[in-house]
């Protein structure tokens, strides 16, 4: 493989994924673009239903069709557009070069297959391992992800493993072919906090060792802060803000991001009410013209209900979807650059 370390590993351009439901067309992902460099970690945050998971399922074309459909856009992975590849070719990429970890380790392992067999399936399929090789590799992977006594535990069934161990198995599976991109879809949501920290630490370590790029989907801002280089904030199928992680946390340029940051509980404040963004996310099947966040925004003005906001560049790597992006950015203490992108 050519060394493209300075290039983008993944480039998503104007991705639109719509679902045709009885309620009308749901624009789950609407005009989403982003890039991911080799070896970097990208965080995608947003409330439930904001299109985080759909974006990532679209990348490896696992949108259930019908009712879902990738309407337009490009997903350039290592120079080739995944959306125009034949099915056979995309299957060779799934698991081999782009691997996924799912939210609920309880249900993402086949209850009727031994752990070892599920791990072996990966390498036999993609790396052409013999049974012997695949078995040894499976044991090695289980040891890598920190399953104690891996050789004895490999022939257990998933129900004999705890949630955290199962998530480790999922990670072992995902990494067993040394993929270039790992998509982790809320990998810690279903786990308790101590296990959560262990799993995140594990992903971090393995990422450092293998140089895999990671897309981390989460609704936990704390996780994003500790794990990622770049963050995308999604709302109603759109990217609301996009920035380097450090910048996003210190100088948010979007009222929605500000709201999210304010609603993180502060352990030092012993009393007082926890802030929450008023209202509920909109019904994406029936979006009104104007900004989808307008009804919940504390900075809303008349124009927000009327016109869809522009995607404003605030800094080198910082974009925000808001009519008042520059003002919000300035209020956070940032100095917006002169360029303006729509």
């Amino acid at each position: 493989m050519a060394d493209r370390s300075n290039h983008n590993l993944l480039e998503v351009k104007n991705l639109r994924t719509y679902f045709d439901t009885e309620d009308g067309i749901v624009k789950a992902v609407d005009d989403v673009s982003f890039q991911l460099k080799r070896g970097e970690t990208l965080g995608i945050v947003g409330e439930s239903g904001s299109g985080k998971s759909v974006t990532n399922l679209s990348i490896i074309r696992l949108i259930p069709d019908p009712p879902g459909k990738i309407v337009s856009g490009e997903v350039i992975f290592n120079g080739s557009d995944l959306l125009s590849l034949p099915n056979e070719a995309i299957r060779k990429i799934r698991g081999r070069r782009i691997a996924m970890i799912f939210q609920d380790p309880m249900t993402s392992l086949n209850p009727f297959m031994k752990i070892s067999r599920q791990l072996m399936e990966m390498t036999q399929l993609h790396l052409g391992h013999t049974t012997r090789q695949a078995y040894d590799h499976a044991i090695k992977m289980l040891e890598t992800v920190g399953i104690p006594d891996a050789r004895a535990r490999a022939d257990n069934y998933p129900h004999e493993f705890s949630g955290g161990m199962r998530q480790r198995v999922m990670i072992a599976m995902a990494l067993s072919c040394e993929p270039e991109l790992l998509i982790a879809d809320e990998p810690t949501t279903a786990l308790d906090v101590t296990i959560q920290a262990q799993i995140l630490e594990l992903i971090k370590t393995l990422k450092r060792e293998t140089g895999t790029s990671v897309i981390l989907i989460t609704h936990d801002l704390g996780v994003v802060a500790g794990m990622t280089d770049h963050v995308i904030v999604m709302y109603a199928g759109k990217i609301f803000e996009q920035a380097r992680t450090t910048e996003l946390f210190s100088l948010p340029g979007n009222p929605y991001t500000k709201g999210l940051l304010r609603s993180v509980p502060d352990p030092t404040a012993e009393q007082g009410k926890l802030y929450q963004i008023p209202g509920l996310p909109p019904d994406v099947a029936h979006l009104k013209p104007g900004c989808p966040f307008a009804p919940r925004c504390d900075r809303v003005e008349e124009i927000c209900h009327r016109e869809f906001p522009p995607f404003v560049q605030l800094n080198a790597d910082h974009y925000s979807l808001c009519h008042f992006a520059r003002e919000v950015y300035a209020a956070s203490g940032g100095t917006p650059v002169a360029v303006e992108t729509v």
């Binding site: 490896i60 696992l62 019908p66 299957r91 060779k92 990429i93 799934r94 698991g95 081999r96 691997a99 996924m100 799912f102 939210q103 609920d104 309880m106 249900t107 993402s108 392992l109 086949n110 209850p111 009727f112 297959m113 399936e121 990966m122 399929l125 993609h126 257990n156 069934y157 129900h159 004999e160 705890s162 949630g163 161990m165 999922m170 599976m173 995902a174």
Partner: protein, 339 residues
């Protein structure tokens, strides 16, 4: 539910649904030092089956009759020196059919515990040999129906949408045909010259009409399974559709499939008996319980044992298989029992 339950049984209820077992295993702290030995679904089911007296009775009877059918004719040959189709030729008597435990001269004899038939053949040996054929037809035809039904149902369920629609409407159409007539038409159209050929034809005919319910059961299972995350996870690892169906989904439908298969065997045996009774099924010199009963019914007034023994043996076997099937269903699908 019954008010009084033994602690053992309560324990049992706690363990029953696999999801509950999983949740429970997780609650236990991993570092407690005690190694969590999960009870497997199969061991659990086996324990429940052993508690069901009727099912155990069925299991024992089925095993005994199967063993007797397989080994019986050979043992009789060793002991008394005649095969099931041995016709005595040395004495020319007008009536050759003797009642049970009776020799040719009316004296008591152990040689023919079920008497003899019209030609003087030993009825006991004939019933055992007939058992071979009947069980064989039941099992092989069930396997045929299993093969067709499981593949068909799994494919329809997995692909869903229009493919599913077309495939299942075809099943509905086939369902609406009176299957016994379909079998009779099939058997008489492709009538085979040899007894063996006729037997194979019988397998195909019976198997190909009895897969419909199996297909529906498997489709239903697959429909609910395919939306589970492990299928998505398998797809995300690049596993092909066929492999997902047969490696990931079908094994997960095993419970209901086994139950239904055990209940299909007696059903098919009964149909076979019915067909043989009508003269469409097993042809002489092979015999099945159905064809023996058909022979016996002609002489029911004079030689009732010719009908009674094959009939009772078959009824006992069918009862036992049904008890076993019901027991298996209760054991493998505990949620149903509490309803």
């Amino acid at each position: 539910m019954v008010t009084q339950k033994s602690t053992d049984e309560q324990q049992d209820l706690i363990h029953t649904p696999p999801e509950v077992a999983i949740a429970e295993a997780d609650v236990r702290p991993a570092e407690a030092g005690e190694f969590v030995r999960g009870t497997s679904l199969w061991r659990d089911a086996w324990r429940r089956l052993l508690k069901n007296k009727l099912a155990v009775f069925g299991l024992v009877v089925v095993v005994l009759i199967t063993l007797a059918s397989i080994a019986g004719p050979t043992l009789i040959k060793r002991t008394f020196g005649f095969t099931p189709d041995y016709i005595p030729t040395n004495d020319v008597k007008l009536i050759r059919s003797f009642p049970p435990f009776t020799g040719p001269d009316g004296e008591f004899s152990w040689a023919h515990p079920m008497g003899t038939d019209n030609a003087g053949r030993d009825q006991f040996a004939r019933v055992l040999q007939g058992g071979q054929i009947s069980l064989f037809v039941g099992i092989i035809s069930t396997l045929v129906s299993l093969l067709i039904g499981v593949s068909y149902g799994a494919i329809a369920g997995y692909f869903g949408g229009r493919i599913d629609n077309v495939m299942m409407r075809l099943v509905d159409v086939l369902y609406s045909l009176p299957y016994i007539i379909v079998v009779i038409v099939l058997l008489s159209m492709f009538r085979s010259q040899t007894a063996r050929g006729q037997l194979i034809l019988l397998f195909i005919a019976l198997g190909s009409v009895s897969w419909l319910t199996m297909a529906r059961i498997v489709r239903g299972q697959v429909l609910s399974l395919k939306n589970q995350e492990f299928v998505l996870a398998a797809r995300a690892t690049g596993v092909s559709g066929a492999r997902i169906i047969f490696r990931h989904l079908v094994p997960n439908t095993l419970g209901p499939v086994i139950v239904y298969a055990t209940l299909t065997i007696p059903q098919i045996m009964l149909t076979e008996a019915f067909l043989s009774f009508l003269g469409f099924g097993v042809q002489a010199p092979l015999a099945s319980w159905g064809s023996l009963a058909a022979d016996g019914v002609q002489n029911i007034a004079i030689f009732p044992w010719q009908l009674i023994f094959p009939g009772v043996t078959m009824a006992l076997t069918l009862f036992s298989l049904n008890f076993l099937g019901d027991g298996l269903r209760d054991a493998l699908d505990p949620q149903m029992r509490t309803v």
